[in-house]
């Protein structure tokens, strides 16, 4: 087939929009395969080799998932993996937070974006994954119910806002402000629900819940640290820019694991408190330095005219920064900031490296030696990888939406 094609170099290829018309799908599929898989001899060989590799991967993965792996490690320890040492009798606080966050996601999607068919499929698959995990063995009926309610809240929030008119107007502004305000307040509210009024102590945050709390704290705290840092580094006041630069470079100079050890061994004397709280501070301080660099890049990317125009219409420095410069700089720096957020999400796993050490301060060696490498661990790590992947994947998709709806890169 390929030789025939190669022998007819003058073959007329219709433009794509005409190819589709009045052709049965078989012809179209064959045409597509010929263009994308078998367009030359080498391409055919490559296709066969790649198909073999993909087949081997798929077969290996399926074999592992359905035959080799012992998933009882996961199903029996699911609560441990999900919430670890979080007090069982306070379970409703976790589910309340999940429901609240899901509702907010629904509201936000309805306000600024929309759920397509792919999103519904993804939600259904991810939801089925969680429900299967929760309901497996039938022991956690209530947790399953809670989770289903949370999904329902997601769609309720979405249905509530998606029908509202999108055209600019006072109603739209009010809606945007309300949802945006709720989003900003979400983190403090969730922290209050989880920890205050008879909830858990910070040290009882554990498992997946800990990562889910640490990442937003790191991201939000990082932004709070980053904006003044970026402005400071770009400032023309030498004392300010010099200290901000030093801070950024020193923090970026050492790995996060190193800073977490600072939280473990050194910050104890400085700010005290529980290790988790110190780790949160370190995460914010660390993330802030990276985000500050992205915002500074955006500040530099703004055309000089923006500064001059702000000055020309009589705005003072604070006004021009707040009204003209920062909104644009933040918009430009959204893609890298979300990238950093995904990175922080993955880096929260590092906190679990230092947590076992808190009881044995000064004896890190024996704690790390407790790592047992039994065969079951492979299943556990694969499961953790999959869960982290799902969340990171959702974040990257949301960032793509955000980029499009904010019109980054457009004017």
């Amino acid at each position: 087939m390929t030789e025939m094609q190669a022998a007819r170099p003058g073959r007329i290829v219709l433009p794509p929009h005409r190819q589709r018309a009045h052709r049965p799908w078989r012809v179209r599929a064959r045409e597509w395969a010929r263009h994308n898989l078998f367009h030359s001899t080498s391409a055919t060989i490559l296709t066969i080799v790649t198909a073999a590799i993909l087949g081997a991967i798929a077969f290996g993965a399926a074999w592992f998932v359905f035959v080799d792996a012992n998933w009882r490690v996961i199903t029996e320890n699911r609560w441990l993996l999900f919430a670890g040492g979080y007090p069982m009798d306070q379970e409703w606080r976790l589910w309340f937070s999940v429901g609240f966050v899901f509702l907010l996601i629904g509201l936000a999607y309805g306000t600024w974006s929309s759920l397509g068919r792919r999103d519904h499929v993804f939600i259904a698959l991810a939801g089925a994954f969680v429900v299967f995990l929760l309901a497996h063995g039938g022991a956690a009926i209530w947790s399953t119910l809670w989770f289903l309610i949370a999904i329902a809240l997601l769609y309720a929030g979405y249905a509530l806002t998606v029908r509202l008119p999108r055209a600019a107007g006072p109603g739209r502004t009010l809606q945007q402000r309300a949802v945006g305000g709720l989003l900003i307040l979400a983190l403090p509210i969730v922290l209050l629900v989880l920890l205050a009024f008879g909830g858990a102590r910070p040290r009882e945050l554990d498992g997946f819940v800990l990562n889910l709390v640490l990442a937003p704290v790191g991201i939000a705290g990082g932004l709070v640290v980053a904006i003044p840092l970026a402005l400071g580094r770009a400032s023309r006041m030498k004392a300010v820019s010099w200290t901000c630069t030093t801070y950024i470079e020193v923090v970026r100079g050492a790995p996060l694991l190193g800073w977490l050890f600072v939280a473990l061994f050194i910050l104890d004397d400085v700010i005290g408190g529980e290790l988790i709280v110190r780790a949160m501070v370190v995460l914010a301080v660390f993330t802030g330095a990276y985000m500050a660099e992205y915002i500074r890049g955006a500040l530099q990317a703004l055309p000089q005219g923006q500064y001059e125009a702000a000055h020309a219409v009589g705005l003072n420095q604070i006004q021009s920064t707040q009204l003209i410069i920062m909104p644009q700089a933040l918009r430009i720096s959204i893609p890298p900031i979300v990238g950093q957020a995904i990175s922080i999400w993955k880096d929260t796993t590092l906190v679990t490296v230092i947590l076992p050490l808190r009881e044995l301060k000064g004896n890190a060696d024996s704690a790390i030696a407790q790592f047992e490498f039994t065969p079951d661990r492979i299943e556990a790590y694969v499961f953790v990888a999959v869960v982290f992947w799902i969340v990171a994947f959702i974040m990257s998709r949301i960032s793509q939406r955000l980029e499009r709806s904010l019109g980054v890169g457009e004017r």
Binding site: T47, T50, P255, Q304, L350, G362, A385, F388, F393
Partner: protein, 400 residues
């Protein structure tokens, strides 16, 4: 804090002092410096600095450091700083190997993502999505566990002709060691060899320059790099054997549950390097893809028009131009590899971070050890940046 670029207008005469920008700026900085000083002062006073100092690094170590290569330090007589330097060497090895491998893999995957072959592009995308969105820590620990569980015990190690061993203690292969008489007794021999090598290197550079000159004049390919490499390799080999080839192969042997002799690649090293490579190459692939996509389509079409093959198009036209955009971002990834190598801690690979931690467990001095760690990481980062900046200036110096 203020961001205003462009030169400020001079203060009008008669402006009240508090409204003058220079005065305000000075006041702001004064307040700022005062606040910073208070914060730093609080931190310093709350730390226990009674026995701050670095003398403890000179004391005998009293612990062992594993994963050594080309060094043989037992920790009984050696000082702590020596052990730390052994750890630094372990880190450097892992970082350098990971940088080389991730660059190679990243470029291949990045190019594959833009392949006209749909299936290849999908496979590359799968790779990127999987390894970019899972935590590096989980990857490293997972690989380590698989290596420990999946490989045979050392008692039943896979043995290929007594020179290649594979077990859960790692892979062992023969390794050349200089006989006494080369690095050992007559040092002048080494000096002679180094001098001869330098001579050949110079000659090779001359040949390369002349051939490149000829290529520019005639337009015919002269293969300057290949000739230079062949000349240098031949010279090195001939001089090596002329000096009596004072090197013998050190073949690995299993004694008890350990490899002795030979070069051993431990599972800790493999897990760390493999994890760093897979994770970083996913990012490098995206950078490479972005760099290629940023090129105007005309470049590909022009390369096709002058009849270059797909490989030639890539290596002669596309990649050299894309490098301008790729190098700065890839440098960042190299710096990340350097910092992420601290995850060696999780798989018990004795890199600088882990050795520093052991020292701190033995001797305390957390603050000093952290200071040492951060300075080391910064120095390595600085070295990487220097090399990459040099490379970058070479690339951008060529006019397109």
């Amino acid at each position: 804090m203020a961001v205003v670029a462009g030169s400020p207008p001079p203060p009008a005469p008669g402006t009240p002092l508090l409204y003058r920008r220079d005065i305000r700026r000075m006041l702001t900085q004064g307040v700022y410096v005062a606040i910073t000083a208070v914060v730093i002062g609080y931190v310093v006073t709350s730390l226990d600095l009674r026995d701050f100092g670095f003398n403890f690094l000179n004391d005998p170590a009293g612990f062992k450091v594993g994963n050594q290569w080309l060094t043989d330090v037992d920790g009984v007589t050696n000082s702590r700083i020596t052990m730390y330097l052994v750890g630094v060497w372990s880190s450097l090895r892992a970082v350098l190997v990971a940088i080389a491998l991730s660059t190679l893999l990243g470029v291949v995957i990045g190019v594959a993502r833009l392949s006209s072959n749909w299936l290849v592009a999908q496979l590359a995308m799968l790779f990127v999505e999987v390894f970019r969105n899972t935590p590096l820590l989980v990857q490293v620990v997972l690989i380590y566990t698989i290596l420990l569980v999946g490989a045979p015990l050392i008692e039943n190690a896979v043995n290929v002709g007594d020179f290649f061993f594979l077990s859960n203690r790692g892979i062992a292969i023969p390794w050349p060691v200089p006989d006494s008489g080369f690095w050992g007794a007559p040092e002048w021999l080494v000096a002679v060899w180094v001098a001869v090598l330098a001579g050949f290197a110079l000659a090779a550079l001359r040949v390369r320059a002349r051939r490149q000159e000829l290529e520019r004049e005639t337009g015919q390919p002269q293969y300057g790099n290949r000739w230079a490499f062949a000349l240098f390799a031949a010279g090195a080999l001939v001089s090596f054997f002329a000096l009596g080839a004072p090197v013998s192969m050190d073949e690995p042997v299993i004694v008890g549950t350990h490899y002795v002799e030979g070069m051993v690649t431990e599972p800790e090293f493999t897990a760390l390097v493999l994890g760093l490579t897979l994770y970083t190459s996913a990012f490098i692939a995206e950078i490479v893809r972005g760099g290629i996509q940023a090129l105007p389509r005309g470049q590909t079409e022009a390369a096709n028009a002058v009849g270059l093959s797909g490989y030639q198009r890539l290596t002669l036209v596309i990649l050299p131009q894309a490098l301008r955009q790729i190098i700065p971002s890839v440098t960042n990834q190299y710096l990340n590899i350097n910092k992420n190598s601290s995850l060696a801690y999780a798989v018990l690979y004795d890199d600088l971070f882990r050795v520093a931690n052991i020292v701190q467990n033995k001797a305390g001095h957390a603050l000093e050890m952290f200071f040492v760690i951060i300075v080391t990481y910064m120095l390595i980062s600085f070295a990487i940046s220097m090399v990459m900046n040099f490379f970058n200036s070479r690339v951008t110096a060529q006019r397109i």
